[in-house]
Amino acid sequence: MNQPHSYSSTVTERPEGWNRPAPIESRGERELLEVAMGPHHPSTHGVFRMDLALDGERVVRLKPEFGYLHRNHEKIAEGISYLASMPYTDRLDYTCSMTNNWAYALAVEKLTGQEVPERAEYLRVILGELTRVQNHLSAIGFLIQDMGASGTPLMYAFRQREKILDLFEGLTGARMMVNYMRFGGCRVDASPAWLDEARKVVAGLPAFVDEFEALLRSNEILMARTQGVGVLRPELAVNAGVTGPMLRASGVNYDIRKVDHYGIYDRFNFRVPLGDHGDVYDRFMIRLLEARESIKILEAALKDIPVGPVIDPKAKIRGLRPKPGEAYGRIEAPKGELGFYLISDGGPNPYRYRVRPPSLINLTILEDMCLGHDVADVVLIFGSVDIVLGEVDR
């Protein structure tokens, strides 16, 4: 069972290196050094292991190994009701719980045909974009920390993140595990005082992003270490199911907010930044530019939010029994395409509950990107994928 199986003769042969990495010959007769990087490692963003085979400093083979944080989320969801799964979705990508909640609520709303009132859609956009801003700034901060900057830019990003988490706590009661979206809207309404506080926070963000960019963008060390490193070709990215900032850094124009037209994103005027080279520097810059676009959306949404109910009064929250059927709902989460696939058999619990984790699927081509690079580059390439183990392992 554990042996790799041989090719079937009906498989179309693709040229070497197309969707499998071309093997790299080692230089000379030196033995390969096999190192396990992780799971206890400061740069692996969680409990994650990479089995590296090194020729000196050069990576010849890289096998990612995870499952250390596997908490059986999909099976737990089969045993509890739809509402009770909502707090568990917070804990998938634990840095972005608002978007996890939104993706799950969207999938259930697709399954039941539930509609969402306008104010709730605006609140979802505001909270989703706040989540995106804090995720992208922290991701850049972690990347810089992995480069050796000892946490200073990370702490600057966290300063802004604290303001956003304070907003979440004022609205939902918890900083990170928010449990806020419901099937048919949001759990609790935002008071005018909260909206004013949110406007203040958003007003302070552009200045910070400018400062952050000035700190980092033309830093020679950063440019030397990230430009040309970990290049991902667009055809390979699409074929490997990569989504999110990583896909757009390779130049592919695919943002689910623009493609699926979910929620009310069509009302907002925002651009989708694309990268030219697909290297680590592009991914880092794309996140910065996307944070700016998110701030534009936030300013517009906070200005235009209408009054009204935040949840459809006819929505069934407790004791929801969707009719038999299935639905796949996806959103553009900060890390990529987060999708939920639900199969209902008419009972109070889902028959099959599947999370499509962007972090796991973005790791498919980690080996391709790292081959031929040094170990130090592996840290950066891995950091630029921006994963959260809660999502990879569920």
Binding site: M86, L171, I221, L222
Partner: protein
Amino acid sequence: MLGEGILKGLAETARNFFGSYFSAERLTTVEYPEQRIAPFEAARVFPFLVYDGADWQAGLRCVSCQICEKECPPKCIYIEKSKDKKPDALGKPQFYPARFEIDISVCMSCQICVEVCPFESIKMNTEFELSTSDRFGGLLLDREKLARSNQYYHQIHPTEAAAVDARLAADKARADAKAVSAAAAAVAKAASAAAATAGEGA
């Protein structure tokens, strides 16, 4: 010039560092536990049971309907219904929980129990300094440890508690009005029955 980017970066760091002496915006460290941040009103940590009045056993609002137990995602609530009944705030005899235990090592503070409770009896507390060295029994809160007065609820969540009190007062007013009209109807019926028997007798 080579190194210009690094110097620009260092200038930003210097601005943040020296700025932290002058602006609170840049100095964000709170030296806990000597300094504390005021908690948010909406903050939630672990649940507690509300009781009205002075006696926690007599005034406990929970009627042991067990809806929170069923809806709790990690199933951390354990309730045993009583065999007898006691009168509640509206005077109706209701069951009460003989045992109500929450295992806070399992509770994930999702607050679904609060959302589904129809009797406004379980609410979220904000105490978080609950470390104990007994990791089994010490983290299993029983009925007595969970019970807190309504005044305490007003202290930690003033707006929410005021809204709950208003709702309960409205319910009580409606129940009282119904009782008054039912009593009036009963009196009228008795009077008409007496008149009918008197009429028959005559």
